[in-house]
């Protein structure tokens, strides 16, 4: 757990010193969502119908693009090699990195999503479901994406490859996430769907760090 706290503090400190990396995904999320009314139509009914898919796909892309740099800086500066040989469990180090990354990138997405939802004409009553869904869904997206990032860390032009690897794996989260919002719009019960998202999160958080640690060891040729 010593490794966990130290890594968490380090990540947060680093992010505070270069806030652009935290703000850029958020900005990307907002811009992508605002493209849709311009591209399709500003008709409120149409926007409301599209909103779940648009918001979830935009959040998913924002998370994925932010993950490209998750291990890259550490790899370039040699920190990653230090982490691999450090006498602490890599599992907790990796978990700390993901938690920190989610607090810095994922949580702002969750907080800004209701505003975007309102702009896409979603009724205020379903904004809670939107936030709950993203709250449970974005950490899973982080973990799954980090598996891909760990495998592509040493590669040139790895970001396109990362997208190819990770996007098919994102489909369940996307389906259940956007589905929960769709059900809320039809005034159907959403708790079962949110529970499934929670189950996916539990699976991802418990097993994911193992896969990420293994992926890092593979990528560094260990």
């Amino acid at each position: 757990m010593r490794g966990f706290n130290a890594t968490l503090q380090r990540e947060v400190l680093l992010a505070m010193r270069s806030p652009a990396e935290v703000i850029n995904p958020l900005f990307f999320f907002v811009v992508v969502v605002s493209l849709f009314p311009l591209a399709v139509s500003p008709t409120p009914d149409l926007l409301r119908e599209m909103a779940p898919g648009v918001i979830w796909v935009a959040a998913l892309l924002a998370v994925m693009l932010s993950l490209d740099g998750l291990f890259r800086t550490d790899e370039e500066t040699g920190v990653l090699d230090q982490l691999l040989v450090a006498p602490v469990e890599l599992y907790f180090t990796v978990l700390a990195k993901i938690v920190a990354h989610w607090l810095l990138v994922g949580l702002p997405l969750v907080l800004v999503a209701p505003v975007l939802g309102y702009m896409l004409q979603l009724p205020v009553s379903v904004l809670g479901t939107l936030m709950w869904g993203l709250l449970l869904g974005t950490p899973s997206l982080m973990v799954i994406g980090a598996i891909g990032a760990s495998l592509t860390v040493g590669l040139r032009r790895g970001s396109m490859l990362l997208a190819l690897l990770v996007l098919p794996l994102y489909i369940p989260v996307l389906v259940f996430g956007a589905g929960s919002l769709g059900r809320a719009l039809e005034a159907l019960p959403v708790n079962p769907v949110l529970a499934v998202l929670g189950a996916v999160l539990a699976l991802a958080l418990s097993l994911g760090p193992f896969a990420i640690a293994l992926g890092l060891r593979i990528s560094t040729g260990d």
Binding site: L155, L165, P168, L169, P172, V175, F176, G182, L214, G221
Partner: protein, 320 residues
């Protein structure tokens, strides 16, 4: 007598305790079988076939592992070591290959000719249904190939077996092609049957995602230069993908029910049972494709072995 029996039992228990990884192999095989069964829940084949497969597995396991543990584990151990070594694998697969080719050709020809020319026409779909003799084997091979990749990936990660990595590299392209064949033949079949080439049906969507997953594994393998590192990375991705494929399958089913799309069944609403006169050639062509699969994978694996071991003495002797 009593003594020797006790001795035998203790020996057996020692023998059973020694190769601990074989328990894991059995477990993984069983898991793969169960997963395949869950995923392949499309009502094409009667459940009895899968139950039959389960029985065969159970009987082999009972008589093998429980009644004659010595022989069973020793055989497994020998296979494990021999097939795990690229050189022995190359020699053994060279012996199998002609037989496999012959069986594959005979089964494919019989199944396809029987199915395409002699099986009775369907009472609703006429002759257009005959594409199942290509479509169903391809879909099944695509699914099983991904399962096999997952199992090989686990073996490669846990025991660092070089052959398992080579296997993943050999399986992925054929599996991707099979997924594509399944999608294209399904589209051609869909036009006369459903009135459209493509529809976001749960099964079609799952197969499309499976194709993407295959392409991801292939892309990752091509991106990494070092063959060992590429193999291990692809192994990890395959294992993650197999776990994911199960969730994808259920999420897509749920998504389908949410949107109340037209749920299509392969043979109308009259139940999923296939008449034996149509089923027999289907089974033949399915097994034909499996053998074709084995042939392709072995040939690709053999080429890969030669490439990876090109600097070793035995390859030089083999090639010269």
């Amino acid at each position: 007598m009593q003594d020797s029996r006790a001795e035998h039992r203790s020996q057996a228990s020692v023998n059973m305790a020694l190769p601990g990884h074989f328990y894991l192999i059995s477990l993984v095989t069983l898991l793969a079988a169960v997963l395949t069964w869950f995923i392949w829940s499309a009502p094409v084949l009667p459940r009895s076939i899968w139950l039959g497969g389960g029985w065969v597995f159970g009987v082999v396991f009972y008589f093998g592992a429980l009644r004659y543990p010595d022989l069973y584990w020793r055989t497994l151990e020998r296979w494990y070591h021999e097939l795990g070594s690229p050189r022995y694998f190359y020699r053994l697969s060279g012996l199998w290959l002609p037989w496999l080719v012959a069986i594959a050709v005979v089964l494919c020809l019989t199944g396809l000719v029987w199915g395409l020319a002699f099986a009775p026409p369907h009472h609703e779909q006429g002759n257009s249904y005959r594409i199942i003799y290509l479509h169903v084997p391809a879909s099944s091979a695509a699914l099983m190939g991904y399962m096999a990749m997952g199992v090989a990936g686990l073996v490669a990660l846990v025991w660092r077996l070089k052959m398992a990595e080579i296997m993943i590299k050999a399986i992925a392209p054929f599996g991707a092609v099979m997924a594509a064949v399944s999608l294209i033949s399904g589209a051609i079949w869909g036009r006369p049957t459903w009135g459209t080439y493509w529809i976001w049906d749960a099964r079609l969507t799952s197969m499309l995602i499976l194709l993407f997953l295959y392409l991801g594994v292939i892309a990752l393998q091509n991106a990494i230069r070092d063959p060992r590192q590429a193999g291990r990375a692809a192994s990890l991705l395959s294992v993650v993908g197999v776990i994911n494929v199960v969730i994808v399958r259920y999420s897509v089913d749920w998504w389908q029910s949410l949107h109340q799309g037209s749920s299509m069944s392969m043979f109308g609403t009259a139940g999923s049972a296939i008449h034996p006169s149509m089923l027999a050639p289907l089974l033949l062509s399915m097994f034909g494709i499996y053998f074709l699969y084995a042939v392709t994978v072995l040939v690709r694996a053999r080429t890969e072995i030669l490439w990876r071991e090109r600097k070793s003495q035995w390859v030089r002797e083999e090639v010269s």
